[in-house]
């Protein structure tokens, strides 16, 4: 009888564990600062976006010439992912679930401007928000599930629900999820890696807490 109870307990524990996911690592890039799992790893007073992005690139010693051809949103995505994937080797099935407010509007405006003289194909390719998912996939060789959501503000509930549905249905074993916004030169990046490995429980509350940790208000509200 005791054995049966013990087995039941193990099963419950296993069930509980299999439905629980954890945040392994996270990164935040905003207002000239980069935080990794709560720790400030880089800061700069550079106000010009492209110069700041280049400083970050050099600080991280990325060595990926393609980076310089990317638009701002893709550069931010590569910088954020690099910090996470450097410590946590990505698996081929690591899904990307990213969201923002501005879609690709920053590059859309630049492309629209170019149509007055000569429409630039190099800009046009970046006029979709999910291009950054493609850039991250190419850099880290991910042939995985992709979804780019747009929401007015950081929607922790949606990110958590959709990432969890991919993990629970075993479509993937890891998800890189978060917020990647760029408008009027202001950037707001928060990415986190979620898997079954025990760490900070993956919940709406913890996402909100981590996103807001070094953050008073989202960029587009300023």
């Amino acid at each position: 009888m005791a054995d049966v109870t013990w087995l039941w307990f193990l099963k419950q524990k296993k069930n509980k564990m299999s439905n629980q996911f954890y945040i392994q690592d996270w990164v935040k890039i905003k207002n000239g600062e980069i935080f990794n799992s709560g720790k400030l790893i880089f800061e700069s007073t550079e106000k010009e976006l492209n110069l700041f992005l280049k400083e970050c690139y050099e600080f991280l010693e990325i060595k990926y010439p393609k980076f310089h051809k990317m638009d701002g949103l893709s550069k931010l995505g590569i910088l954020g992912s690099e910090i996470i994937f450097r410590k946590n080797k990505p698996t081929k099935d690591t899904a990307l679930v990213i969201s923002n407010n501005a879609s690709s509007l920053e590059t859309d405006k630049q492309f629209q401007e170019s149509t007055k003289t000569f429409a630039s194909p190099a800009l046009f390719v970046y006029t979709l928000p999910n291009i950054v998912l493609g850039e991250i996939s190419i850099k880290y060789k991910l042939q995985s599930e992709n979804a780019f959501f747009i929401s007015e503000d950081f929607n922790a509930g949606l990110l958590k629900d959709y990432s969890e549905s991919l993990l629970s249905s075993e479509k993937t074993s890891r998800v890189l999820c978060g917020w990647l916004d760029l408008q009027n030169g202001e950037y707001d990046v928060f990415l986190c890696l979620v898997s079954k490995e025990k760490n900070i429980p993956f919940s709406e509350e913890s996402l909100k807490k981590l996103y807001c940790a070094e953050n008073d208000k989202p960029t587009h509200r300023t």
């Binding site: 990307l96 407010n101 501005a102 879609s103 509007l105 859309d108 405006k109 492309f111 629209q112 149509t115 000569f118 429409a119 630039s120 194909p121 046009f124 390719v125 006029t127 979709l128 928000p129 999910n130 291009i131 950054v132 998912l133 493609g134 850039e135 996939s137 190419i138 060789k141 991910l142 042939q143 995985s144 599930e145 992709n146 979804a147 780019f148 959501f149 747009i150 929401s151 007015e152 929607n155 949606l158 629900d161 959709y162 969890e164 549905s165 991919l166 629970s168 249905s169 479509k171």
Partner: protein, 380 residues
């Protein structure tokens, strides 16, 4: 994972303002693609554009025409049709999943009386939600040309997690000067109506449409019903604007979707391809389909009827697939001439009667994304 049942649907396109009109038009081989000559480019091309006078005429019965953009009117008309058929639907509980690549992007060049905020996709979501009284925050997805189909996959995933029982999934995009300039700069626009999988294909034709469908995790009390039983997306990890030469991402997404549906490739009775009619896309698809053992499956691309409706395409084409399954009919692949891809495919060349139990819808897009959806017919 459980099934997602496909219920009422609506298509607003140059071929008609209801699914019924659209099905009838494509059955008769009509195309919405017409010769266009915009002022800002010397190049001529074909595109499927909705007549705005006609749209305003129909829209004026449900709202003030000057208060909404063309895209908003298309979306609102599509959703209105679904809600009219589901008067008892509780809008406080129903999810609204809106998918688009560019939304109101035409306002960037010509804002008219609309504020700049109208360019934001979250604003588009709010306008649709407020018009009808949806209470849940709309879920907005913008994932290039797989957006509309990915909306169904997202609905299935979230529905299965118990986030909602019923959802309305919408896919919509415009033929704007913005996208015309872009595809023109890529030299990707065909000078004629596009010819998917044909030897003479030389690029895409653009199109605009709004497609909407009601979906539910609960089985409806009707005798014939189509459900989504498998889905997967996969990135090529190869190039942001060109397809993989080996069709890797599309192949992976097909394998995973079939596995998710627990069926083998031989069971697929209809393959609704992406088939944009660019040289590289169609070639890539033929390779991925061959690798997946789908070369004998009757296949079509609907781009010859509608053009490439971007974010709407994969949802619009899923809706046509649903009706093909219910009506047991294979629709001919419009503008197909001689096979022009390296791997053999069983292109549907004339409309045929056929019992279809399982169908596969695929799509691919910029950013290297690919999607596969498996549908099942339950008939009595």
């Amino acid at each position: 994972m459980k099934k997602l049942y496909l219920l009422e649907d609506a298509i607003i396109s140059p071929l008609g303002f209801s699914t019924k009109e659209n099905i009838q038009a494509i059955r008769e081989g009509k195309s919405g693609l017409k010769f266009q000559k915009p002022e800002f480019t010397e190049n001529q091309f074909f595109a499927g554009i909705i007549d705005e006078t006609l749209l305003n005429q129909v829209f004026s019965k449900i709202g003030a025409i000057e208060k909404f953009t063309k895209l908003e009117k298309m979306i609102l008309l599509a959703v209105k049709q679904l809600l009219d058929k589901n008067k008892n639907l509780d809008l406080t509980e129903t999810a609204l999943i809106l998918t688009t690549t560019k939304g109101n992007i035409n306002l960037l060049k010509e804002p008219g009386d609309f504020p700049e905020s109208r360019l934001k996709l979250s604003k588009l979501g709010k306008i649709v939600a407020n018009f009808f009284g949806f209470k849940q925050t709309p879920i907005i997805l913008s994932n290039a040309c797989i957006s509309g189909g990915l909306g169904l996959a997202v609905a299935r995933g979230l529905g299965n997690s118990g986030k909602f029982t019923n959802a309305i999934v919408v896919g919509a995009d415009l033929v704007s000067d913005f996208v015309i300039s872009g595809f023109n700069s890529f030299q990707a626009l065909s000078t004629e109506a596009c010819k998917p999988f044909s030897k003479e294909r030389d690029g895409i034709s653009l199109g605009e449409a709004a497609a909407a469908i009601m979906v539910s995790t609960e089985k409806p009390e009707i005798s014939n019903v189509i459900s989504l039983i498998g889905d997967a997306s996969a990135n090529d990890a190869n190039h942001i604007s060109g397809p993989s030469r080996t069709g890797e991402g599309l192949y992976i997404s097909i394998q995973k979707a079939l596995k998710d549906a627990s069926i083998s490739a031989e069971k697929v009775g209809l393959l609704s391809a992406h088939g944009t009619a660019t040289v590289y896309n169609d070639e890539m698809e033929s390779i991925a389909f061959h690798r997946s053992g789908l070369q004998e499956v009757p296949i079509h691309s609907l781009k010859g009827f509608y053009g490439h409706t971007l974010g709407a395409s994969a949802l619009l084409e899923s809706i046509i697939t649903k009706h093909s399954m219910l009506n047991n009919e294979l629709i001919a692949s419009k503008n197909f001439g001689e096979l022009g891809v390296s791997k053999s495919l069983n292109i549907i060349q004339s409309n045929k009667h056929k019992e279809i139990y399982y169908a596969l819808k695929t799509a691919s897009g910029f950013g290297g994304c690919n999607l596969a959806l498996v549908f099942k017919a339950e008939k009595e």
